[in-house]
């Protein structure tokens, strides 16, 4: 016969605690608290999303410093618009939408200025077709870790060459693991469009990454 040594071993107790915690510390509740001037609530929101948002924008723009700036701008906008926030969507959808708009806006600015990343090996030609300037070395590397690193770098660069309309859904799906429904809400489009774009994006990537597959 088993004896209970702690209250945590009771089945319902942790679940009950979890429910209570979720009510008071949900994203919506934190934003409500932020609206009423609770700085700690906003700090909690930032700590929850800063890595996700920074990472997402970095995958979109392939520029870490710029991604950090844009991630901060995302939080500034959330803070400023806290009064106008409506609970129509999940907070994550809301903040990702802001981040996506900022990232796409940045990509368009770069396109206008015709900036080429110094670290990138790919360059857009006039026709918009991506061109590989430095094709990967086909010889196998000795160290498996190096191989993985090289693969990751290659895929990051390949993602960077995708058109923005394919890039965002692919990152949200395959890197962040979000559902089609959520991606559709973030990008303000239909699920069918999201599926189609992801499929096309994978097709592009498969072509570019053929040497690694």
């Amino acid at each position: 016969m088993n004896t209970l040594t702690t209250i945590d071993e009771l089945g319902f107790a942790p679940a009950l605690q979890q429910d209570v915690l979720e009510d008071t510390t949900s994203d919506h509740a934190l934003l409500e608290a932020t609206r009423s001037g609770d700085q700690d609530a906003f700090a909690e929101l930032v700590s929850r999303y800063r890595n996700q948002i920074t990472s997402y924008i970095y995958r979109m723009t392939n520029d870490y410093d710029g991604a950090v700036d844009l991630a901060q701008e995302t939080f500034v906008r959330v803070y400023r618009a806290a009064d106008r926030y409506q609970r129509t969507y999940a907070f994550s959808t809301y903040i990702y939408r802001i981040a996506t708009n900022l990232a796409i806006s940045e990509l368009r600015k770069r396109k206008r200025r015709k900036l080429v990343s110094l670290t990138g090996f790919f360059q857009q030609t006039d026709g918009g077709e991506a061109q590989e300037l430095n094709p990967p070395d086909g010889r196998p590397l000795q160290d498996l870790e190096l191989v993985d690193t090289e693969r990751r770098n290659a895929v990051q660069r390949a993602i960077g060459t995708l058109p923005e309309k394919y890039r965002a859904p692919l990152i949200l799906r395959d890197v962040d693991g979000r559902s089609y429904d959520e991606i559709a809400k973030i990008l303000e489009t239909s699920e069918g469009t999201v599926k189609s774009r992801i499929s096309r994006a994978r097709g592009f990537l498969r072509e570019k990454m053929r040497a690694y597959l």
Partner: protein, 244 residues
């Protein structure tokens, strides 16, 4: 049939999350179709590589920088007033520029209309008229009536006279030779200054001086006629051509 099946199966594989179970139909199809099997292997590998990118962490000072940025934004809130003032000034400047532009354009149009009227009226070649042949003075009103004929009231209203207005002035002639001079007698001793009121513009000028001993001297200043006197617009050909 099989091609359609491949398409459907690939779509299903594409939409499934990594590691999720395929349908029985997909499993069956993959067992038979080598092309779809290769597609599935490549697709899985690609998604694994993309998924391995993982999350990039924000820098350690992210929160600090964000707080500083928010504080900076809050501190700059009073600048809203100056932003408003700057916008107001910009709008006022724009209104002034527009109004000035409208006035200038209107003035230019008026001047152009006046020039058109001038061209429509053939200018008479006016010869200098000798005093004997001088025509009687033409009343100015008649002339102006002739000039203004056919012009709308809007064009008559003028802010200031233009060069064309000066050119419209008629010839002015005066014949004063037929008017006799009045005789004035004064008997004051010499050395005393005398003044005689005369209308020099209308009379010839004759002065008779007697010294009281029968000696007399007459000074006659003949009537001076300059012929027809024409008021011209400007004597200086280098003067700027504009309204004064």
């Amino acid at each position: 049939m099989r091609k359609n099946n491949c398409k459907l199966i690939r779509r299903e594989l594409d939409e499934l999350m990594l590691g999720a179970e395929w349908s029985a139909a997909a499993t069956e199809h993959l067992r038979e179709c080598a092309s779809c099997r290769e597609f599935q292997v490549q697709q899985t590998k690609l998604r694994q590589i993309v998924g391995s990118l993982g999350t990039v962490e924000a820098p350690a000072d992210f929160d600090f920088r964000l707080r500083a940025r928010l504080a900076n934004d809050a501190g700059s809130a009073p600048t809203f007033f100056w932003t408003f003032v700057r916008r107001g000034l910009a709008v006022a400047a724009m209104v002034i520029v527009i109004v000035t532009g409208v006035v200038v354009v209107r003035d230019v149009f008026r001047q152009m209309e006046n020039n058109k009227v001038e061209v429509a009226q053939k200018p008479e070649v006016r010869q200098p008229v000798k005093p004997d042949e001088a025509a009687p003075v033409v009343p100015e009103e008649k002339k102006t009536d002739h000039v203004v004929a056919g012009v709308t009231p809007a064009t008559i209203r003028k802010i200031r006279p233009t060069q064309a207005d000066y050119r419209k002035q008629p010839l002015a002639t005066k014949d004063v030779s037929s008017v006799g001079a009045s005789v004035l007698n004064r008997t004051e001793p010499a050395g005393v200054s005398a003044s005689f009121p005369i209308d020099a513009s209308a009379q010839s000028f004759t002065v008779s001086l007697e010294d009281g001993r029968g000696n007399a001297k007459t000074i006659s200043v003949p009537t001076v006629s300059f012929g027809s006197q024409r008021i011209v617009q400007s004597g200086n050909p280098f003067a700027p051509k504009r309204d004064w």
